[in-house]
Subunit: 751 residues, 2 copies
């Protein structure tokens, strides 16, 4: 099987395209390899999607055959596509990128030929000739000799199937998908249009967080015949004897009104000429079928596949071109632009073209007044770096995301934690909305009601646990300053560490808003991590309700996603240094700089560092807090980038976490990292590229761009000899966002 | 368990009520015992329904417990209620009465108390204190100490549940029901309203004849909480481990938008006071949810349970009072009015209050211009007597039924055979629309397009078999004059016998319309039965394609619903005499009157007569074709009535067949029987009652009423000595409808 990512040059209308074209015609969009992260549990996918688009169309290859190495039903599985799988059962519409729990990935659209067969275990096909680039995916179905192509607008998609001569079919399977929820309704509207709704949900064990996707599907040619199927319930006895469809997929040949059920679908029959192309459009909405139809019509009216494809490509190039890099290898540029691509998938827009969206945790439908309503907030992940990247480079999006978060508070009474299409899944822990918004505010991003945000933050920070879905263990936290371990795997330390970071950010915001008492209160709370410090191990260690340390204590327990007392998805080694707001305080507890640095270095030397999950991903930057130790940061970031980020399906170390791993790569490759969420600063490291131009929104940041230049004696040099900011030497490795913007130009001289 | 049918006198607004009240206050409606036919496979039910109403509400007691003697899933089962069953799982909305295949009987509404439980095997309850009368049913759920009551309008229902103090629930189960189809969608509209659609169908092996029922449900009190349930698909492996609802009924506690699935439902929680009553209204439509809502609103607006109940009662009394009987025992009057009640359930109206209905075998929605659109035409049964009864006593309904049938031809291209809510199920055989409409036309009923009907009849009579869903074996029939046996159980003789009867009627209609050539053609065809006459046995016997008789031949093969070569639901004994249009010709073939009469008598003497199915139910009247043998008819009809029609659950000999068995009893008890469908005549027998007044539509029939009087020397007398019609002696036992109407008064003098 040969796969390529398309390097064909598409005419880009980007205002930056000329500039890029000057450099040999290499457009950022053409450097993206959507197959990066599609194996090794990166859980990204090569499907077609627009930047921050609601719709994505993804080749679904994780069910139906033993030929597949990974099967969604045979193990824990959270992505519609795996690079090494081979059995394709259709294109799923609306998908998550880089998450760790199965969700959405349904409305499976499949072309077939020959005798009609609606059993996916039988109608699936192996494939070859995979091609993917931003906004486009194609393959060739070996069993049917059908070429498939898909592209997308923000809220709709179009598939183009090129059939051989003979009996052909298009199937829409509403029974299967990545989500563990079931149940759908479909109705034929005309000979070329169907509408319906499919339930989604149960994301990450939350069986109540369910929500509907509404859809309208149109086909470019009237089928010779069409109908539904439904897998029949298994009956017994007399019923079973007389019903020929008992337990089977029953074909409905004349019935064409509403069909509902757990496992239903639509079939269409055609007689196709050789190379005949049939297009299938799909519009979706989280509000209503009418809105799905309007989305489809408004976004595709008068446009064919090629135009939609070209527009998607151009949108991506425009967005990716906000950071232009020069130098590095083509592989490095590919890794960079693919990482940037991955940071621009989620959060994605939720509202329909008419502005309507499902209000948070409500049956209400509301309308955005201006801007976009965003969804898919995986905040425990993205508060660390994705939103910092968006704030600097895509501030209009970050502003709308903040507005969306504040609107969620309005609608639901709480800031989001892990919001998914209008439902709160309460996945992971902490109060991550606080650092996300605080960071933006302190950097000067405006255009939202910060007082209402503050009100929301204060509510979650001060509400008793039983009434507090964000901080369920808030009573003990407020009273004792820490959360004790009450159950073996209650993640108590992880909970508290997140609260400390949130409270540090909240303290800074309170200070900025002139609320000095609050600032002091939350600052003091943020230092409560010290309770967990155990001198014996020199590490953070779970505390019991009586105040004693948990024992027996094994700091390594919890590696490889095994459960660990007190820690969530990690162990004491992955969490001990996660006090980014009080690095010096932690160092002092540990006995000073040398002990801190030695211990931190041992994390890397002994293989305790987990590059595949969030708690310790800022560890490499902590060395830079200490004079003379900054080289460690620089060496490590280059080493880790090389080791874990590749131009390959295995090119992301683990779940991309809606772009968090990718944002780590983006920041590292341009020499900056926001290592303390809620603090408007970056720690510097040596960039991968020689010249980096970050195009800025001048109205927001007061300048058109930032330039980052790196002068290296040789290609392997990674250690910084000198840094200048705005032409002046900088004798430190940490700068604020204001300093960066004021200076405008960073120059790294490596040695 | 004590059951009574309500004898409480309700004030009737009927114009006849005063008259009836004169006779000691006995109203016809009060004589109806809806439990008659609810055992012994009568398949009637004691639920609440209005005359010819779309809605019926029936206690559902045929699933979920081994306590039940008959279980819908353990055997072939076609009724929602069986008298001897004990485990109640709710009220089903929209049901069939007296049919032999399972269909509809869903939207199961159940009150419970205590901890919420949505598994019908667990939430079902035994019951006592059953009460039923027309338009009303009530019982008491022992497990919950809840009194249930239900009543209905034409297209809606209301249930009144009287709860004890404590935690109470109302459940709507959309996953179960009598139908073998599955799949439903439900959506909460407000805190007190739900709407949805449930698929029905697969009636009598016809898996493509499926159709939706739309509903709107309202509750009189806002629940403390409400939600949905859905039985989850059984998952395996990792999925199964993490999903706590795997394979179970999952409760949805916060999701309130559309829910679809195979096995779903709605739950509501209440805290009720002692004896608190909660009403649940249900509106239905076969067109749309909006129409279901309008039906509910228009028919129940401003009315409470008691008013709706009183109106239903009054409607029944008005209709039943069209035939007033005096004399006989109270048991006989109960049997009579219950039988009349059963003839007024199907066909039932289909259109919504706004006149819309689903066009036949189509996705179109049409609107009736005036009158009613009827549905549930079990014509192989009802062409024998139900429509003859309706023509005489309820001509406005028969007219609309004929209009409905002609409209079906307009919409679908064919007259109905076994039409069910807009779908043709093609159950049983023949072309029964022809005798139904011919009979009415020849009697003088007008108000429909007879030429279009004739066009439809001619089409099915003359179209080749492969294009002819009504007469699939028409090629052979037209060519040879009979249908040969091609497969062991292809019912070939039964098919042909039905065609002969239809062609005889068509010949009469052609004649009446002045189409002499057609009349001759179809008359000749109607005599083709003679091919089947085998002199060896003196019986009709299946023919093979080569013209030889089928062998080995056992005339008794086919008793008790066993399959029989050539005959459908019967054997040669049950079919040999079924040539009502050529009784004398058949007698001649048999060797004359004596041989005919002896042979026919032996059917009764040897126990070959099947009182439980249609083919031979007119046999008793055939004696009256022969001078001096009429007494046999009179003796037999009284004997059969006594033997098979009782004031008891077992009071109907078998499936009531949408009133056909009941119409047999009605006609017999008033001394008339339309023994040759398509011929506008009755054969006379001695009535059960002393005085019978049939109230007539004067505009239609030219007189207000017909009176039938019987003068008997003693109570046991059954043999007729003399008959007078309009005061003049009648020296025969067969009269036309015209003669009856002209005479106006029949007097039977028994000896």
């Amino acid at each position: 099987m040969k796969r390529t990512f398309l390097l064909t040059l598409l005419v880009s209308l980007s205002f930056l395209s000329l500039k890029a074209a000057d450099k040999g015609g290499e457009e950022p969009v053409d450097l993206v390899n959507p197959f990066i992260g599609t194996s090794n549990f990166g859980t990204t996918n090569p499907g077609a999607v627009c930047p921050n688009g609601l719709m994505s169309v993804v080749p679904f290859n994780v069910m139906g055959s033993d030929l597949n190495k990974y099967d969604k039903d045979a193990r824990w599985w959270s992505t519609p596509y795996e690079y090494h799988n081979v059995f394709f059962t259709g294109f799923s519409h609306v998908n998550l990128s880089g998450v760790g729990c199965p969700e959405v990935g349904s409305l499976l659209l499949m072309p077939t030929t020959g005798k009609l067969n609606v059993d996916y275990k039988e109608y699936g096909s192996t494939y070859d000739k995979e091609v993917a680039h931003p906004g486009y995916y194609s393959n060739h179905l070996i069993k049917y000799d059908v070429k498939t192509e898909v592209t997308a607008t923000l809220r709709s998609s179009v598939a183009r199937f090129t059939f051989p001569k003979g009996e052909s079919h298009v199937l829409l399977n509403l029974g299967e998908g990545l989500t563990n929820e079931s149940g759908a309704m479909v109705k034929k509207v005309s000979d070329t249009e169907w509408e319906g709704v499919k339930l989604q949900g149960t994301f990450c064990y939350n069986s109540q967080a369910v929500f509907p996707i509404y859809f309208v599907m149109r086909i470019s040619r009237q089928p010779l015949a069409s109908g539904y199927w439904k897998k029949q319930r298994t009956m017994k006895g007399a019923e079973a004897e007389w019903d020929p469809d008992n337990g089977k997929y029953k074909l409905y040949t004349s019935y064409q009104k509403e069909l509902s059920g757990d496992d239903i679908g639509v079939w269409m029959n055609f007689n196709t000429e050789a190379n005949e192309q049939i297009d299938v459009q799909m519009g979706v909405s989280f509000v209503s079928i009418a809105n799905a139809r309007e989305n489809l019509e408004k976004e595709q009216s008068g446009k064919d596949f090629d135009i939609i494809h070209a527009e998607a490509n151009r949108k991506w190039n425009d967005d990716l071109s906000r950071i232009l890099v020069e130098g590095g290898t083509k592989t490095e540029r590919t890794i960079f632009y693919t990482a940037l691509y991955h940071t621009l998938i989620h959060p994605n827009i939720l509202q329909d073209v008419n502005g309507q969206y499902p209000a948070m945790e409500s049956n209400d439908i509301r309308t955005v007044s201006d801007g976009n309503r965003y969804t898919v907030f995986s905040l425990w992940d993205t508060y660390r770096n994705v939103h910092q990247l968006l704030t600097l480079v895509y501030p209009e999006r970050q502003r709308d995301m903040i507005r969306s978060m504040i609107a969620m508070y309005d609608e639901h009474g709480w800031m989001p934690k892990w919001e998914l299409y209008g439902r709160e899944t309460y996945t992971m822990e902490g109060d991550p909305a606080i650092p996300v918004i605080t960071d933006s505010w302190l950097k000067g991003l405006r255009g939202y009601d910060i007082n209402k945000a503050y009100e929301a933050f204060r509510k979650s920070a001060l509400t008793k646990g039983k009434d507090n879905p964000l901080r369920p263990d808030n009573d003990e936290y407020m009273q004792k300053g820490y959360v004790a371990l009450h159950e073996q795997y209650d993640n108590s330390v992880s909970h508290a560490l997140e609260y400390y970071i949130a409270d540090n950010a909240l303290s800074r915001l309170a200070d900025a808003l002139g609320k000095k008492d609050d600032a002091r209160l939350f600052y003091n709370r943020s230092l409560g991590y010290r309770h967990y410090f155990d001198k014996e191990y020199g590490m953070l260690r779970p505390l019991m309700p009586d105040g004693s340390f948990y024992k027996p204590f094994n700091p390594r327990q919890g590696e490889n996603f095994e459960p660990s007392p007190g820690f969530h998805e990690g162990n004491a080694w992955n969490y001990t240094f996660y006090v980014p707001h009080d690095v010096m305080g932690l160092a002092k507890l540990m006995g000073g700089q040398k002990k801190f640095v030695d211990k931190l270095q041992s994390v890397f030397d002994k293989g305790y560092y987990d590059p595949a999950n969030e708690p310790d991903i800022a560890y490499p930057y902590l060395f830079s807090y200490f004079k003379g130790e900054e080289w460690r940061t620089q060496v490590l970031t280059h080493k880790l980038l090389k080791e874990y980020f590749k131009n390959a399906p295995e090119g992301i170390p683990g779940n991309d976490d809606t772009g968090t791993m990718s944002a780590w790569a983006v920041f590292n490759m341009i020499g900056l990292y926001p290592d303390c969420p809620g603090e408007p600063s970056y720690t510097l490291t040596s960039p991968v590229f020689d010249k980096i131009t970050i195009r800025l929104d001048k109205a927001q940041w007061g300048r058109d761009s930032i330039r980052i230049e790196t002068i290296r004696p040789n290609a392997d040099a990674v250690i910084i000899r000198e840094v200048t900011l705005g032409g002046k030497p900088l004798n430190r490795y940490r700068i604020t966002n204001d300093e960066l913007l004021k200076g405008g130009e960073l120059k790294f001289y490596l040695k």
